[in-house]
Amino acid sequence: MNEDYIDIILADDDEDDRLFFTDAFEELKITTKVSTYNDGVYLMDYLNSEEIILPNVLFLDLNMPRKSGMECLREIRANDKFKDIAVAIYSTSASEEDIEKTFVYGANIYIKKPDNFKKLKKVLSEVVTINWQYHTNGLNKEIFLLRL
């Protein structure tokens, strides 16, 4: 892990969302390294490849072709190697069912994609500057869903 910048990965099949995401981090004055993957398969292939630097925060879209965010989450939490990665769910939906499931499967935070770029920047800056110690192990369901 790198100490100089925050390593961030986003897995999202939507091109526009990936654009918003990278744009937002570009505009934010935080030293980050953002890489994006087009779906769950690409993401897991990358994470499972040898000699990589594991990201600090992983943003997971739920609804993706081939391998969904939920499947990725389960694989990641099943592997001890990834135990230090903070997983943020980054989804259009905020249905009770999805929130409950991802919480149970061990995601750290749940973000509903905002409909406003300013809000998006605010959310992302909050997430990457969070004290993850507090959010680890998903002990507190009250603060799981990030409210704005």
Binding site: D16, D23, S95, E96, D115, N116, L120
Partner: protein
């Protein structure tokens, strides 16, 4: 006669038994009296014979005496003839007397004494004879006198004895007559009375039989009517009856059972084999097994099978049987067979419709969810791009360009609202409704939290009573509160800040006019009262209808879904929601939730 006894079923039997014994008794009494009568007659005859015989004896003795005396006087031996024949006759007569008195000890005793006297008399005769023959004609001899005197003495004794014997016989007869006289006198009256009683009993029995016969006829008539109505009901209700005598293996089929098989009534012999011919080949084995089971258990559960009519129609039948044992110990299986083809067809149709409905519902729900869900994504992008455009290019746009952009923004915002509400509406439809005992106050606080921004913006005051714990679907009740408070905030009066008063009351459904048809007895009554713009009560019901709005979009931004969701939530709880409005004064929403 008490009518209860008269009506008793054993009455006729009893009367006949009593009558039989009476007649038997009368016959016995009559026989006894007759035999007594003939016995008395015998006795009289006997007495008469005895009397005659005794007289005869005296007469013979006298004849002998007279003959002897004649001989003594005349010395002519011809006088002795009656004497000799007299002796012989006396012996005969004596034998006869012996015969006549053999059944009477006393008479026998007397007869023995008489016998001795007679023997002595005869000996006396011989003595006199010897005396006369020895001393010829010497009748004046003084020696003869004592002998003669002795003869007289003996003769007197004999007479006495005979008199006693006749008297004895008379006494016996009298005693007998006295003993049986009363009896014989009473017998005719007794017999007459007994016969009369028997006659009365017979008459009673006769009436009983006649009345029974009448009743039987009446019952028969009713039975006939009942049979006819049973026949009709069999035809109308499409069922038939059968009786199976298990021991004799004989069957009785009702007329309609034949019709159920598509045959004319009683057109073939009622038997298991003939019936099974009609059964659908696939069901034959099943029915046979059931019949075998019936043989063992003698109690048939419902059997379902098909039969094929001669014209090829397939009908579904259902049979049920029950064993009955009658008073003679005969086992019978009484069964009913019903044609359930229509029911099965209806059931299949209903099931199909249900299935379709369920599928449609699922599809609709899925469509609703997916549509609103998937619609969000492009909308969110439009909004995000709009916000970027606003941030970056605002200065490069003309005035009309800015105006168009603001229009696009508000249109997009409205679309978002619609989608959010629709999503919520479809979510309240979902089947997984878990009731939990919930703290209503916490749910209200959570609702207020959801609306915190607007509440503080509007300076709204919300006052609430305390609530008891209720068994509800928590997130739905929270949604209900959000929607109702949101509604009040949205339709606030322009000249005053919103005030919402929430009151709670426990009520009996019988006391509330609007709960006449309510299922539960007690309800939680929650009232939301605001000081907003209110509404005309004309629309009190309309406002709960989906997409129904009372106001123009420019004035108030509503989707017409919020209150529909409220209604749906309350209905999910088997409750009721009513609205009451006063234009420009305020609106009141009354919610009734049953105690669960």
């Amino acid at each position: 006669m008490p009518s209860r006894i008269y009506k008793a079923p054993w009455f006729v039997k009893a009367v006949f038994i009593v009558s039989f014994f009476i007649i038997f008794f009368v016959a016995g009494v009559t026989y006894k009296n007759m035999s007594k009568l003939s016995e008395s007659f015998d006795l009289i005859e006997h007495k008469y014979e005895l009397g005659v015989e005794l007289e005869q004896m005296i007469s013979y003795l006298k004849d002998a005496e007279t003959g002897q005396r004649g001989f003594i006087i005349t010395q002519d031996s011809t006088y002795l003839e009656p004497y000799f024949s007299g002796r012989e006759n006396i012996n005969n007569s004596f034998a006869e007397l012996k015969q006549l008195t053999k059944d009477n000890e006393e008479q026998i005793k007397f007869l023995k004494k008489l016998n001795i006297l007679i023997d002595n008399r005869l000996a006396n005769f011989e003595e006199v004879e010897r005396f006369v023959l020895k001393k010829k004609n010497n009748i004046d001899s003084p020696n003869l006198i004592p002998i003669f005197l002795e003869g007289k003495q003996l003769m007197d004794d004999i007479r006495d004895k005979i008199k006693i014997m006749i008297e004895l016989q008379n006494k016996r007869l009298e005693a007998r007559q006295e003993a049986y006289g009363n009896n014989l006198e009473l017998t005719p009256i007794f017999l007459y009375l007994v016969l009369l009683l028997s006659l009365l009993l017979m008459i009673g029995a006769y009436y009983k039989i006649i009345s029974n016969l009448k009743k039987l006829k009446q019952t028969n008539k009713q039975l006939e009517i009942f049979k006819e109505s049973a026949n009709q009901s069999e035809i109308v209700s499409k069922y038939g009856n059968w009786i199976w005598n298990i021991e004799e293996d004989t069957f009785i089929f009702s007329d309609n059972l034949y019709r159920l098989l598509g045959e004319e009534p009683q057109s073939f012999k009622a038997s298991a084999a003939n019936f099974i011919q009609f059964v659908h080949p696939e069901d034959k084995e099943k029915l046979r097994k059931q019949v075998e089971m019936m043989m063992e258990e003698e109690n048939l559960p419902y059997v379902y099978y098909r039969v094929i009519h001669k014209n090829g129609n397939i009908r579904h039948l259902k049979s049920y049987g029950k064993t009955l044992v009658n008073s003679e110990g005969e086992k019978r299986l009484l069964g009913t067979t019903t044609d359930i083809t229509d029911e099965i067809e209806n059931f299949v149709k209903l099931e199909q419709r249900n299935f379709e409905l369920e599928r449609n519902n699922k599809e609709l729900s899925a469509f609703n969810h997916v549509a609103s869900h998937d619609l969000q994504e492009p909308l969110r992008k439009i909004q995000t791009f709009l916000s970027r455009l606003e941030d970056k290019e605002e200065n490069n746009l003309s005035e009309s360009g800015l105006k168009y952009m603001s229009r696009i923004k508000s249109a997009a915002a409205r679309m978002r609202l619609l989608i959010d509400d629709l999503l919520q509406f479809s979510r309240t439809n979902k089947a997984d409704k878990v009731f939990e005992t919930s703290n209503i106050y916490l749910l209200l606080e959570a609702a207020k939290q959801d609306l915190a921004e607007v509440i503080s913006e509007e300076n709204a005051v919300i006052v609430a009573d305390t609530f008891p714990a209720m068994n509800v679907i928590p997130f739905q009740i929270q949604q209900l509160f959000v929607n109702l408070i949101g509604n009040s905030l949205k339709y606030k009066a322009k000249d005053r800040s919103p005030e919402i008063k929430i009151t709670y009351e426990k009520v009996m459904s019988s006391k509330e006019a609007v709960l006449i048809n309510a299922k539960a007895n007690t309800y939680h009554k929650i009232i939301f009262k605001d000081n907003g713009i209110g509404f005309d009560n004309e629309y009190a019901e309309k406002i709960f209808i989906l997409f129904n709005r009372l106001h123009n979009r420019q004035e108030y931004s509503g989707t017409g879904i919020g209150l529909s969701i409220c209604k749906k939530i309350v209905e999910n709880h088997q409750g009721y929601i009513f609205a009451d409005g006063q234009p420009s004064i305020g609106a009141t929403f009354i919610i009734y939730l049953p105690f669960l």
